[in-house]
Symmetry: C2
Subunit: 89 residues, 2 copies
């Protein structure tokens, strides 16, 4: 019972830390600006997410694989837009 | 052996997705600008990290607690700076 409730909290956490990046993608895409986003942060975070995904695939942990796969796609979108709109200041 | 190597990948992942936000804090702090960062993203991500921390504390998982405690501090710093420099465009 305790573990089940904790698992629900874990799923809620994974859902929030994943969908959080969707409005950021739209924000950059609509405003065509990403100067305030640090390129190093995006790169390091993306590599970290790739490692989380590898960890999840390695241990076959679906609750780790799913949110990190979505987060990776959203981070790649932000990274692409960051590079595309770079230096428009 | 396999599990140990996977654990190392997990620690590397947690370290990267945590320290990634340090240059973002400095970037906003130095430039006094955060308009390109979406407020909703910061808020949703921060709530998600609070839930990850609760999940880690609940199940007493130190590898979950430590990075999320640091990430929470860094996110709070970004959120504070975002609100402080809001609308300076």
């Amino acid at each position: 019972m305790m573990a089940n409730a904790a698992t629900l909290v874990g799923y809620a956490a994974g859902t929030l830390t994943t969908i959080a990046f969707l409005p950021q993608v739209l924000h950059v895409w609509q405003r065509k600006r990403a100067d305030d986003l640090h390129l190093g942060t995006l790169l390091i975070f993306t590599v970290g997410i790739v490692l989380w995904l590898a960890y999840g695939l390695w241990l076959r942990l679906l609750p780790v694989i799913l949110p990190n796969a979505v987060t990776l796609a959203l981070q790649c979108a932000i990274l692409y837009l960051k590079l595309r709109y770079r230096g428009r200041d």
